[in-house]
Structure formats: structure tokens, C-alpha cells
Symmetry: C2
Subunit: 372 residues, 2 copies
């Protein structure tokens, strides 16, 4: 330290106090703090709270936190298996994100934070010193739905090779997620950077749209929209999004250079879009895909009718699901139907439940299988 | 509605309950809900809370919310002047973001949500049906600091005009903000899209880095770093960031095609970087720039020494600040020093305080003045 200065301290306090409309009396909080042994300390400032618990996806049940004399609740966990986990604090029964962590889980139904435990060697989703692609936030127009957001990954070298064209993976998020969830929680861009650097994946474009026509929890009606929502999104996806991507990016546009995959509700959608359109997508993947048994026939109408042709068209039909996932049973029932119809597919059953830890793994498994 | 389906409802509930590790018993909440008369209803589910207040930047002081029999706290405001405002809920003394709003204020020191009241005619920061630029999330390497994030706006037409080169505006955020705050709260990309569409701004690239070397609230030390932090960021800015931008984007690289501007702590930094380097930047702007009187000489050392040359080099030196801003007085003192030294500058004194409502306005005022 050369000249000690209160410059930044003053500004930080000013900023906070102005924004919160109250004097800033709270102590400096660092949360989460990941330790060398992979244990993590979580902290939450709540002097008036009666009970604060940590709900983290590396624990089966919430952990009680304890309060110090300054009103800071904290807990230090046991060493955690390296991965990236969503978590939240439960404060007197209310679930809140960690106010001191800028890594937020983008979701319309809840607010979680995300913590990464890196461990001693980098994982496939860990930011590493390799060439990085570009993650672009774009808008595309829809006559029916207005201006729509989409996040698009272009691989390292895209800008510097202006004559190269690339295959495209369309990646759909879970039901209440947003167009940002695949990068912020799924780390799709980092996983691709790393797999490409390792020579395990072809350079590709990844398209991550806002995966429904209207919010599930509608701002206008307060009610849930479902089949209609999906039909409107289908029109938007094929009528607006794909043409926008193929006009504005250097894409390869035959079915063998198009893949679609998704998680949960978006996994169900990727199967619905992909399997009924195997002349458009030769690669179709579901990560714990959402489905209901009484909707198998409706959602696979074209697919089941043309099973033989679909078998020829598809270069990969892949389903992965965790054995503790609430969707494990229905996915198994679905696979029995596929078997009866002699439809070819690959499956992966992992430990764990309906989590983004599994989803990141599934993405890293399927990407090397694409566009070969 | 054709076939009613519980498909999405089930998935949404599954998702939420799995992630929160508890049954999802809470009612469907829509918050915020902006009404046709510009009043807004805010809602928060907190059956066990004793007191919930709304702290919104369109109100001078917090507003009490009331609880219904389902545990949902709510308030409907009076009509609000159209703009985009940060807000938070104060739940039994704890400030939390709105769990039902995905528009989060990226900040390391606090967590707010953002609500836009559009009004009857679109504002300069309102998403409109005009050509849109691209917002790219990039990483650039630093030997000292590792892999660094930066958000970069390229204007409409950048991709389709591969021989065109563009001027560059470097835009620095406030002290505890992040590289995402200028787009998510400042709407810099939307403001540029709109000004360019109106013929009021030249197409330009905007570079929005993570504006410090280390977090203000250090994850490792828990203490604040200040002058040292700024010096490390200066090395990174000139030694890594600018070369990365000029290598990877089609930029015009003379001083008359480079501008630097920033808010609060980032405003102080933009003056410090820009005014001491007027051979690099001909446009230097501070939005409520952070400064301390006893640091005037230190932070303007080169600038004050070469005032006459700086006057010639600078095509715009601009300071805007609100009359209710805690930094209003020190900025006036700074301008007195500038007057004594016969340094040319433009100033704008507005109503309001240290807010992003003012900052969005300042950006829309200075952009038309750049690169003419």
C-alpha cells in the first residue's frame, strides 16, 4: 500500500446507502468463501432473523447457520465434491439468494445463487486459459411476440475465419429458466471452449433462446400457459429464430449440421421439435427431458408415424437422466415405447437428481458426439 | 386453449421444489406488475415475516407493504414517472431482491431488482423495433490477473460491413458494480441502438470491462483495496484490455476516435485515465464522478501539468452530476479548480441524486457529442 485512501470506501458506502435508502451499518461480508480443502463458508447478514438455513444442492437437506454478535449468520461446510452448485438461504422461512454473490441463477420461478468449488484440477466447466469463444446477446424480431432475446455462442476462431461455416446446436433451458441460464448455470460456453481446446469437439455455434412464447408465470394473467405456449414457441422457433440465426451467422444448414438439446421442460421441447422434424435435425438430445406418459402419442405424432425414416435420418438420439430424478420413471417408460417401436437411441443413467450438475455433465458427454 | 395439459405446471413445480429442497406450497406470484396508469404492484411471499417494506428509487423513503391471508405482502404505488428504477424489499430489516423478477442489478455490494415503467411513448432506454447491435461477453487475458471478463457492444451493421472500422467508447461502471451493470441497469446497448436509429449517434463500439483489478470487497482479504487496486486496473486497462479490443475488433485507433466515460467510482477512474492521457482519449466524461478534494492534485497530475496541451487535445471534457448527489459539492469544487486553470469543460447539473436514472440520461446526452 502506498497512499492510504478512503476514496473507494467512501464511494462504496455512498453507493450502497443511497441505493438502499438507509445508512449502511452492516459489516463487510464475503460469501461464499471457498477454502483450499473444498469446504465453503457461507455468510448472511441478518441481525433480526430468528433462523437462517443454507439450502445447497450438495446437501440433501438444509443446514442450520449460526449468528455472531454482529448479526452475521454463517456456516462452514465439510469438503464439497468439486462442481458448481445452486444454493439459497432460508431466512425465517423465506428463500433468498446470497446478496454478496453476483453469480445468480437466472430463473423466473425462484432466485438462487451459484457457487463453484474448483478443486485441484480444473473441471470441464471451469474457466481455463484456452482460446475463448464469444457469447453474444442478440434480439430477433417476431411479428407475433415482439422483440425476442437469444444468447448465441460462436467458437474461438469464428471472427478470424470469415469464410468458415459452422454446425449449430440449439440448446433449450428448463421450464422457468431464461435465455441466460445455459451460460450462467450450465456454463455451456466454457464447456465448449474446453472441449474444443482438447480436440474433443468440433467448433460449433450454440443458440440459446428464451425457450417459450410467454413466461410460464404470466405477467398478465398470473396463470400458467402450457400447450398453447409450446405451439406459439414452435412457430417462433422455426419461423423466426432459425431464419435469424441462418441469416446472421455463417451456418451449415443441412440436417447433419443441426442439433437440438435441452433440459427438463426444454428437454421435452427439444424432443418434440427434433424427433418430429428429423429432416431438420439429425441430432436430438434430452437431458432429463420433461414428459408425461399420457402425452407420448401426442408429442411424438410425426416421429412414431415415420419411425423407420427417423431411424435413418437421426445420427444421434440421446437421453440422459439421473436415477434420483423425478422424471427417471417416465423416461424409462418412454424408452420402453421406443424399444417396442424399434427406434434407436442412446441412454445414460447417472447418479443424482434433476440438477444442473448432471446437466453440465450430459452436455459434456453429447457434444463430442455431434457433427462427426 | 385446445388440450389442457398439466405438463408445464408439473415441471415448473418439480423444478422449484427440487431446487429449493422443499415442497412448493407458495402461491403463484407476479411481481412487479406495471399497470396502464404507470402505477406498479409489488408482491413478496413471506408468511412468517413481521414487516415488509418496499425500497424503490422512485420514492424518497420505504413504503410499508401489507400481508394477505396467503402470506403475500403487496403494495400498489401511485403512478410513477416512466423510467427504469432499482428497488428491493426490506424483510424484517433484511434487504433482498424481488425473487419473482429476473431483472437483477449486478452488484457486488448489494442485490436490487430493476423495474421499467415504459409509459405511453418509448424512452431512450426502452427496447424498440429498430436495428439492434450485438452485446458480446468476452474474456481477455492478463498475465497478472488471469482471465478477465468484458462486455462489448458492436453497433447494427458491424457484422454485415466487414470493411468498416468504428470509434470506441470505453464505459466504466460504479464502484461495486460489475461488467454487466452498464447493460442490465444502464441499458447502454439499447440507448445506442435508439440514438443510432434516430441519426443522433455515430455507430460506435462500446467496451464495458470489469472496472477494477480485484473486487472492492476482496474475496481473499475481506478488506478494501483502493489506490493499489486502481493502479493494477490501470495496467490492465492500457496493457491488456485496449490491445485486446484493438486486435479483435475493427476499431479506429487515433485519439479522436476514442472516448472514455464512467459513473461514480468509474467516473473518477475515467477522468483519471482520460485526462492524464489526452493523446489517447479526446473525449472524457464523468457521470457523478467519484473524487476527493485532497486527491485532486494526485489524480490530475499529468493533466494539470499539461493543461494547455490537454485543452487542445480534448474535443469534449464533460461532467454531469445531480444536485442531490452526495458528490455534487466536491464536483463543484473540482470545477472551480478547472476554472482557475482555464481548463475547458462542459457541465450538466440535473435534478436527482446518485442514480442510474441520471446515468442513463447522461449517457444519452454525451453520446451524440462523440466522434463528430
Amino acid at each position: 500500500m502506498k497512499t492510504p485512501s478512503i476514496y473507494f470506501l467512501l464511494l462504496a458506502m455512498l453507493h450502497v446507502s443511497v441505493l438502499l435508502g438507509q445508512p449502511n451499518a452492516r459489516p463487510v461480508i464475503v460469501s461464499p468463501e471457498v477454502h483450499a480443502d473444498n469446504s465453503v463458508t457461507f455468510r448472511f447478514y441478518g441481525p433480526m432473523a430468528k433462523e437462517v438455513k443454507l439450502s445447497a444442492q450438495f446437501e440433501k437437506s438444509p443446514l442450520a447457520m449460526t449468528k455472531d454478535d454482529k448479526g452475521v449468520w454463517s456456516i462452514t461446510t465439510s469438503p464439497v465434491k468439486p462442481d458448481m452448485y445452486p444454493y439459497a438461504f432460508n431466512v425465517d422461512g423465506i428463500s433468498v439468494a446470497d446478496p454478496n454473490n453476483t453469480a445468480i441463477f437466472p430463473n423466473e420461478g425462484f432466485q438462487n445463487s451459484v457457487v463453484e468449488i474448483t478443486g485441484s484440477s480444473p473441471l470441464i466447466h471451469t474457466l481455463q486459459n484456452v482460446p475463448h469463444g464469444t457469447v453474444s446477446y442478440r434480439y430477433y424480431p417476431s411479428a407475433e411476440l415482439g422483440t425476442r432475446p437469444v444468447v448465441i455462442y460462436t467458437p474461438p476462431g469464428y471472427e478470424s475465419n470469415p469464410k468458415a461455416s459452422y454446425p449449430v446446436l440449439y440448446l433449450l433451458h428448463g421450464t422457468t429458466d431464461t435465455e441466460e441460464t445455459w451460460t450462467k448455470v450450465g456454463r455451456a460456453h466454457i464447456i465448449l471452449d474446453n472441449l474444443i481446446a482438447q480436440g474433443k469437439a468440433k467448433p460449433m455455434i450454440i443458440v440459446m433462446p428464451y425457450g417459450r412464447a410467454y413466461p410460464v408465470i404470466s405477467k398478465s394473467s398470473g396463470s400458467l400457459r402450457n400447450w398453447d405456449n409450446l405451439q406459439e414457441f414452435k412457430k417462433d422457433f422455426f419461423g423466426n429464430l432459425m431464419p435469424f440465426v441462418e441469416k446472421n451467422y455463417r451456418t451449415l444448414t443441412d440436417k447433419n449440421n443441426r442439433a437440438i438439446a435441452g433440459f427438463s421442460g426444454g428437454g421435452g421441447t427439444s424432443l418434440y421439435f427434433g424427433l418430429n422434424n428429423t429432416d431438420t435435425f439429425a441430432y436430438v438430445c434430452g437431458f432429463a427431458p420433461g414428459m408425461l406418459k399420457n402425452e407420448f402419442d401426442r408429442n411424438n405424432e410425426v416421429f412414431f408415424k415415420n419411425a423407420a425414416q427417423a431411424n435413418k435420418n437421426l445420427k444421434l438420439f440421446w437421453i440422459g437422466v439421473g436415477k434420483e430424478d423425478g422424471l427417471y420413471a417416465v423416461n424409462q417408460e418412454y424408452m420402453q415405447v421406443l424399444d417396442q417401436k424399434k427406434i434407436k437411441y442412446e441412454s445414460l443413467f447417472t447418479d443424482g437428481g434433476h440438477t444442473w450438475m448432471n446437466v453440465k455433465h450430459y452436455l459434456s458427454v453429447i457434444v463430442p458426439k455431434l457433427f462427426n
